[in-house]
Symmetry: C2
Subunit: 384 residues, 2 copies
């Protein structure tokens, strides 16, 4: 609990809700008659509305990207390291918008919301989503906020996929696409981890075919295992070794206990899993990992990413992290190669980091400097 | 089903059982009054009993390393690629012994066996095991077979850990230690994957605190998820991509299904998981992964692997595979470095392979040539 907020924090923030009453037809063919998005904004929108930056969140992210909800918060928003006054995404310069994605579980319409025709939670009946559905709903949010063109659309991991889709679907509505620790599509290994996580959730008897809210249960153990699997893939082997090593909690082996939690890494993972299971919605997790699996930037462009990127009209900034094995640097280089092939302007920074995929969230001098420099260039194009 | 057996097969083999009535005190302090090991042998023991090779199996392996149990078998033993007449472990030269480890579930005394004082299955009461317990029980099997000194002790992965422990605990009882795709201890990431797998098993309500056999249930879904997690770590990202890519089973996306199994890799993993869950024992899985986690070759040598290896008296052969990320090549180089530091004779082969950890089981020209050449040297020291 901070007694005073840090000087470089956006400070106390309050989520807002935007209700959309115009029907939204999704990629799967289903139409949502109405939906809501919860979002946060930081900084001030300038007179010609040219300084707006959209933040797209990743699998377990939400609209709370920076600042604090109350003085009692133990931690700030998930990207507070890089959003704030004087930070890479400088809220003295930019008006930052971060929505919780449709289908999420932090306030936007999703599986936990009430299905209008039944009065019960959507649960497993919530329509399957594609990354393009998020982009469309974000575009409607931009309309509602009067933002015709984003100074930049920015995201890491799954967020980066949304950024790339933005560049192809609404090429005139963003000037810069910032794609961090991302990929144009998942590998079979990525899909395999997601599928294993879904199996863990769906085989939990408390999952109840996805109708756990109606039944008054929660598939906590399945969701905890899913999170543990995910968490391992966000960290590098090195980072886990540095953080936990093979340290024993008791200092020595516990003999004869059937379920000893002896290694520090075990108790850390169990804590992470339990904590996540108490907060995240299982149907949202399934929905979002499926959107990840299905994402394939160039599928409709005859599987040619060069052809896909020919449709873009913005500048690109791509960042990768050396020890990221979920979306390895080579996946970013594929993006850069395709952009160069399509003769698009692109800047690429390969950050040397031992912290795996999570590095895109963590403090790092080199990353901060490079990211800040790029965003300062974006800011210079904007009227004060 | 082979109509005829391949020429380079050991052919039809029959498991044997050895009963040990002398009490065996385990590292955890518990004493097993009696126990049994099931094992297979291939080839003929020579007159001076100098041509015996011990095979140590890995996590999901067993005593059936080569050949067929019947003409109806769809597949031979798990290391048939490398054990047989004219193969790397040449059964024309060697007498090969492969036991199912204590605590396993393929016939040797383990959690599925009857606990003498209760008449019920041991289940979760089976004592926790260490790698050294396997080595001790294998040494007793050697005694029973009249084998004073192995020509070689050979193993991959967890099997390689047993080989290294053999070299330190019974330095005079082996002439060669062959350590393939192994490590001197697990990394925090390795432990994290094992812990996640155990959580998946233990949180399955059918696990019943490990007493599923008494309750007439089986924790199949938990065990399936555990296997899926393990399986991903045995394959490389590349190998999964080559095998499955992002191929869709239906050829196109299935809309509106809540639980579509669309990607080939999903159906493959589910099949692997279900198949394993029908055959393997959950308590054995927990027991064996804990032995893996606890293994730390140099712990009792003041955490100095050079000091540890000073106790060895055999020659070492170490093999690693370039794309193995479970026990990466660097883990093998650590073994080689420590052996060199201890002035022990060691030969190291770094195989360039795209197939991940599983490469130690798979056919590969380069691996076969190198492994065969080393073992031919071992055979030359043996009296015909």
């Amino acid at each position: 609990m901070p007694e005073t907020l840090p000087n470089d924090s956006v400070g106390l923030v309050t989520p807002q809700v935007m209700a959309f009453t115009e029907p939204l037809t999704l990629a799967c063919g289903t139409t949502l008659e109405r939906h809501e998005l919860v979002y946060e904004t930081y900084g001030e929108l300038n007179a010609d509305k040219s300084n707006a930056v959209l933040i797209c969140h990743a699998l377990s992210g939400d609209h709370h990207a920076a600042g604090f909800h109350s003085m009692d918060d133990r931690k700030p928003g998930w990207w507070d390291n890089y959003i704030g006054p004087g930070k890479a995404i400088d809220t003295n310069r930019f008006f930052v918008v971060c929505p919780n994605n449709l289908g999420g579980c932090s306030g936007s319409t999703g599986p936990r919301s009430t299905k209008p025709d039944t009065g019960k939670p959507w649960g497993p009946d919530f329509p399957m989503l594609r990354v393009r559905d998020w982009v469309e709903s974000q575009a409607r949010l931009a309309d509602a906020l009067g933002i015709n063109c984003w100074a930049a659309v920015v995201g890491g991991s799954l967020g980066g996929m949304q950024v790339m889709r933005w560049a192809l679907e609404h090429p005139e509505r963003l000037r810069h696409a910032v794609v961090i620790a991302s990929a144009m599509k998942l590998s079979a290994q990525n899909i395999a981890f997601n599928e294993t996580a879904r199996q863990a959730i769906m085989s939990d008897p408390n999952f109840e075919g996805g109708r756990y809210l109606e039944k008054g249960t929660l598939p906590k153990s399945g969701l905890a295992v899913a999170r543990m699997i995910g968490h391992i893939t966000y960290l590098s082997d090195y980072a886990m070794g540095q953080k936990f090593g093979r340290e024993l909690r008791s200092g020595s082996f516990l003999r004869g206990q059937y379920d000893p939690v002896e290694f520090q890494v075990e108790s850390y993972l169990r804590y992470q899993g339990d904590n996540f299971a108490n907060n995240f919605d299982a149907n949202s997790y399934i929905l979002i990992t499926r959107a990840l699996d299905y994402f394939d930037l160039a599928r409709e462009y005859d599987h040619d990413p060069v052809e896909a990127f020919r449709h873009a009209r913005c500048r690109f900034y791509v960042v990768s992290f050396s020890s990221d094995w979920r979306f390895a640097p080579n996946r970013s280089r594929e993006i850069v190669d395709a952009l160069l092939g399509a003769q698009q302007p692109v800047t690429y920074t390969a950050i040397d980091s031992p912290y795996g995929h999570d590095a895109f969230l963590l403090p790092s001098d080199r990353y901060r400097e490079a990211f800040t420099r790029y965003m300062a260039g974006v800011a210079r194009e904007v009227n004060a």
